[in-house]
Amino acid sequence: MMIASGPWMLALNASPKWLESLVEQFFAYLPAWLTSNLTPTDAADFIVWPLIQIGVMLVVVLTAVAYLTLAERKVSAWIQARVGPNRTGPLGLLQPAADGIKLLIKEDVIPFKADKTVFTLAPIISMVCAFVVLAVLPYGPHYASITNINIGLLFILSISSVGVLGIILGGWASNSKYPLLGALRSSAQMVSYEAAIGLTIVSALIFTRTFSMQGIVEAQRSLGVWFVLFLFPSFIVFIVSAVAETNRAPFDMAEAESELVGGFHTEYSGFRFSIFFIAEYANMVVVSAIGATLYLGGWYVPGMDWVAAQLPEAYREAALTLMGITAFAIKCGAILYLFIWMRWTFPRYRYDQLMELGWKWLMPAALANIVLTATIYIIGKELGLVRSVEGVLQMDWQGKVYFTVAGLLAMFPILALLNAINRNSKSFNLRAQRTTIPISTRKVKLSPGVKPA
């Protein structure tokens, strides 16, 4: 058992050989006091290579975010039998650039009574929290991930929980009614659904056995399956909570246009607004990446190792990396499409329904799933279907079939539990709920002469 920590705890993947030699040559031109404490290998591994990766990732993700907005508009148009943006460039492909330029050259208004420091700080917090998380995502094997830290998943969860601050502070600092209401709603919503997300991830951790994002992918690679097979109920809870966590319809309480004008960013304009906008879409990318990593195997596709083994030795690593990045991008894209699809097909929840769904449906479902998954795992272990060798799970095909079937069957006890908990308020229709509560004990009694409290 090795506990990898220490100064190299934030270990980055080793840089390619050509970069090391390049840095070594460059060292000859640097003054001695600068290079005395630093070996060329360390400089390449910890300074030059990460900076290159970070630069590439920023460009890629910002482009992805820009085209995600276009995809959103296009998909919404198709769903509503419209054409969507098609004037700027071929098929409207330059629309994100046009939008960006428009937002950049707009006037940047700060309300007179706003708290100026916090007002400017809020979009920055949102943006930073959305982008810092990109550092630990596993885009692919070998060179394709920036860092692989021990607490990867926990890091992502904690940083995205800090991201809520951006919304709250933005709403508060505007010193205006609608933004404040939007901020309060969204903070309550995000805190509630964070609990559901955290709990549903716990049941996934029973199989992944690590917080490290690369480790999670490797766990699925060594088994040759995606964890969505073992953890189907957990996956459903995750997807629903993820939509709520990113403040998107049908859970877009933070910016419900028909109720709150624009929600927390009502007073923001121009570039500051676009920062909030980018952060929201970057959060979507991050959440879909977590979903793809935990449940859909990350960059792993069954059979990719076989394909790589057919190639000559020299190309094997590069081919595996390319396939991994492509698979990861496709999986993220699929989940992102699901998010967009959900936004344009479901009506918005009422606020009390939203809280009810979070605390009385998703939370018990996640808790019950932890208990059930742990029980299933222990039974499988007692039956000898699964072994844990130095933290790595090993199982034969019987074990895989057992966990898949048991994971699907776990749906039924969970549904029974949810049914029992919510038997009085199963229908989201308020009128149907009222008829189940006797008139004599209704909260508001409407008798003549007595004003309801």
Partner: protein, 194 residues
């Protein structure tokens, strides 16, 4: 832990920012600004946990304190009218507060001096094999799950050696939840559900 090189730099950076943010937390008049400085303090402390190789504690600190508790702090602060606090510069309890703060500060100073005389925090040199583990660079091509032992170790420790504090904390939180529900329910709701 011996402070050398980058570690020393990060230690002083994080410590000083935590201390300054802590001072601003109590000296700023606007409660929301206070909460923001408190967040800075907590994040700097999480960085210190990282320097102590306690990654999980650092992550949990940010997740629980910054993401959960401070968000609820801000939630409450927004619902309360804080203007009177900002505009009224007098605090009649400042003398008592200063006295208690001085007392706690002296106690802390005494504890630090006492520990320092008995051997100190940083005087024990780590053994050679401990240093080897700490300075080991993980193999980038290591097989799956080698580092996953961390989570397993944490879980096993939490539910065997630390099970009593864990349970006590759970019961405490449960009591707080039951109490708050009891306080929040009014008489009409009691009648409805009884």
């Amino acid at each position: 832990m011996l402070l050398v090189g980058w570690e020393a730099l990060f230690f002083w950076l994080l410590t000083l920012s935590a201390l300054f943010a802590a001072v601003f937390t109590v000296s700023t008049r606007n409660p929301v600004h206070c909460a923001l400085f408190l967040i800075s303090t907590l994040i700097a402390t999480a960085g210190l946990f990282l320097l102590l190789r306690a990654e999980f504690v650092a992550g949990a600190q940010i997740l629980v304190y910054v993401g959960g508790i401070l968000v609820l702090f801000l939630f409450v602060l927004m619902l309360v009218n804080t203007r009177s606090e900002v505009e009224n510069p007098f605090n009649r309890q400042d003398k008592a507060g200063a006295f208690i703060a001085a007392l706690v500060g002296l106690a802390l100073l005494g504890a630090v001096t006492y520990t320092q005389q008995r051997g100190g925090f940083f005087k024990t040199k780590p053994s050679a094999d401990r240093l080897a583990i700490e300075n080991a660079r993980p193999d980038p091509n290591a097989p799956a799950g080698v580092i996953s032992a961390d989570t397993e170790t944490l879980g096993v420790t939490l539910y065997t050696r630390a099970v009593l504090p864990f349970e006590i904390a759970s019961v405490l939180l449960l009591m707080a939840i039951v109490g708050s529900v009891l306080l929040a329910r009014d008489r009409r709701q009691e009648e409805t559900y009884d």
